[in-house]
């Protein structure tokens, strides 16, 4: 167990290192001159050179990289050369939005998908299963931004049930916060419901054929007990893996929805920074998002070992 965790942690460090190089190169090898952004296109060549020197951009690329890396290792993610806000503080403002949207949507998705899958798998290919399977197939083809637009069309413009945009921090007003995140969360939930339902249904159907389910029936246990206490856990491995991928991709995937609902989450902040050539903020945020992505995958791997006691032996 501990050696397993240690191995995973070592992997994480290596991957994070590789990602940091990629992020750095991505930002520095692409055309575009930060000095133009800061000074405007009309300033003199000399002023630019001075600024480059001031920003440390005149040094060789590898040196710039190691300076950046060294700062990160000391806990300094850098700061915007436009607003002088530190990356850490930007993350502090943006991350709560992403965290609420991701946790909210995934929680709702699981709460909806699991009972649906249980019911569907109990009688495969019957009316309920058919309609749920077909509906979720449709949901898979239903982009979140389309869902968002249609909901705003119906509930914000039509009947003023929810606000069409904006995010109120949960610390300010819980009800305002919930009203604001309801539609974004539903938009993000739909696709996840479809994925979770389909993963769990397929595995449940397979599990219900297993001998140990027949054995549980032969103990005279109720169908509900067998489904929830015997079949669900061994059917959830793919579901968990799917959740990892889903959450990972939502780290940036929420952006489209945040953009439409006018919420300044991580990805929205990142895109702003990209458009302003605020390269240190871009590097910092991109690194955080990528590393979070890898960490989520590793957490899922670890949870898989908890879910399936047979893995622990290895």
């Amino acid at each position: 167990m501990w050696s397993y965790l240690g191995k995973r942690l070592a992997q994480l460090v290596v991957i994070a290192f590789v990602i940091s190089i990629l992020v750095f190169l991505l930002v520095h090898l692409l055309p575009g001159d930060p000095t133009v952004t800061i000074l405007g296109p009309s300033d003199t060549h000399q002023a630019r050179q001075e600024l480059l020197k001031q920003l440390g951009l005149d040094k060789p690329l590898y040196e710039q990289y190691f300076i950046w890396l060294w700062n990160i290792l000391q806990g300094n993610l850098g700061q915007s050369f436009l607003t002088h806000e530190t990356v850490a503080s930007a993350v502090g403002h943006a991350a709560p939005i992403d965290i609420e949207l991701i946790i909210g949507s995934q929680l709702v998705a699981v709460l909806v998908a699991v009972p649906l899958a249980l019911l569907a798998a109990l009688r495969p290919n019957r009316a309920f299963d058919r309609s749920a399977t077909t509906t979720t197939f449709g949901l898979l083809s239903f982009p979140s931004y389309v869902a968002g637009v249609l909901m705003v069309d119906a509930f914000a413009v039509g009947i003023h049930l929810f606000p069409a945009s904006g995010f109120t921090p949960i610390t300010q007003s819980l009800t305002q916060n919930l009203r604001g995140v309801t539609m974004p969360i539903i938009a993000l939930t739909l696709g996840s419901v479809a994925i979770y339902f389909r993963l769990l249904r397929a595995d449940l159907i397979a599990t219900l054929q297993e001998d140990f389910v027949t054995m549980a029936r032969a103990k005279g246990l109720s169908t509900r007990y067998i489904l929830t206490r015997h079949a669900l856990r061994p059917s959830s491995f793919a579901l968990l893996a799917g959740a990892g991928i889903s959450i990972g991709s939502l780290l940036t995937g929420t952006f489209v929805i945040e953009y439409y609902f006018n919420m300044a989450g991580m990805a929205a902040t990142l895109v702003d920074a990209i458009q302003q050539r605020d390269y240190l903020v871009v590097q910092g945020l991109a690194l955080i998002i990528s590393v979070a992505y890898v960490i989520i995958n590793m957490v899922v791997d670890f949870l898989l070992t908890l879910l399936d006691p047979r893995i622990r032996r290895a």
Binding site: D211, T214, R217, A218, G220, R229, R233, D308, P309, R310
Partner: protein, 387 residues
Amino acid sequence: MSPKADGQLRFPDVADLNGPILEVENLTTHFQSDRGLVRAVDGVSFTLDRGRTLGVVGESGSGKTVLSRSVMGLLQGNRVVKGGTVRYAGHEISALSPAELRQVWAVQIAMVFQDPMTALNPVVRIGRQVTEGLRIRLGLDRKAATETAVALLESVGIPSPAARLRNYPHELSGGMRQRVMIAIALACGPKLLLADEPTTGLDVTVQAQILDLLGEQQQERSMAMILVTHDLGVVANRTDEIAVMYAGKIVEKAPTTELFAHTRMPYTEALLRSIPRLTDPSHMRLRAIPGRPPDLVNPPAGCRFAPRCPYVQEQCRQAEPPLRNAGPGHQFACWFPVGSSEGEQALAYNLHHKVPAALAFTGTRADNALAAVPPEPTPTGDGEVAS
């Protein structure tokens, strides 16, 4: 889903029971498949008295596993076509609803499954798998259930049982897993135990231990037991009666000693000969039965064993032999039974005409059988066969 209070079934104390604990009459279980109807169990009848043991023997694919699950009523779903009746302690359990059947399972009839690796839930600790029946079916509280579970595991010969409750199935050896399964089956004190190939996949020494354990437990609890196996050797000393199944039907049934002493059905004979003996030369080839069990969607007309039978005659391919009596409790289905003059004649005739099944069947007997040109045999009549 939970049984209604007024829907509670009452079962007589087994000690007060008059008549057999289990009566199976003309039981059929067919499955709808893409290829057609699979006749897995096709008209099986037998009775079992309390405290007695019935061995059900047959190759894989003979329908013996389906039989044991049908008796219990475990096979449900819209692809299962059921027929016939199963009466347990006077109740026609084949007519019960799934919810009512749940009252029967574990407490009245329990099953030991074939493969403990797949029949124990791999992600649930042994403790819950043993105690959940006790708690839910018998209403024991956590403490009492755990104590009972420890006692159960101890009684089936599991060392340091309290510690084992924390284990997952994969952490135990095959033999231990099978003991756990037996403990689970015994947990709610069933009056009838169905053991479906309980020793397949275990070492020979462990096999004997498990079978002995089943025997002891049966004695102690005066349970009735049905022991399903492909190995006649397994049931030889451990059953009161044996039913031999082939292609979904019982082809011979007799008290154990009678069956071994006066085998009638050529299939039973072939099974008997396939058991390796200690007296055999050490490198002798095993005499497996050539051929395969028939397709249960389109079983052959006439006797289903005919295509593989060393005694087979034209008659066997035309008409299905009925079950006939051959002494007290001994029934068989064959036109040219083993040990009868018709049977001897049929075998000799087949050997002379070099019927492959007959040649494969006999090693030494071929020489004397070939000595004279045998006349064409005629089948025995419907009456009893002199032994």
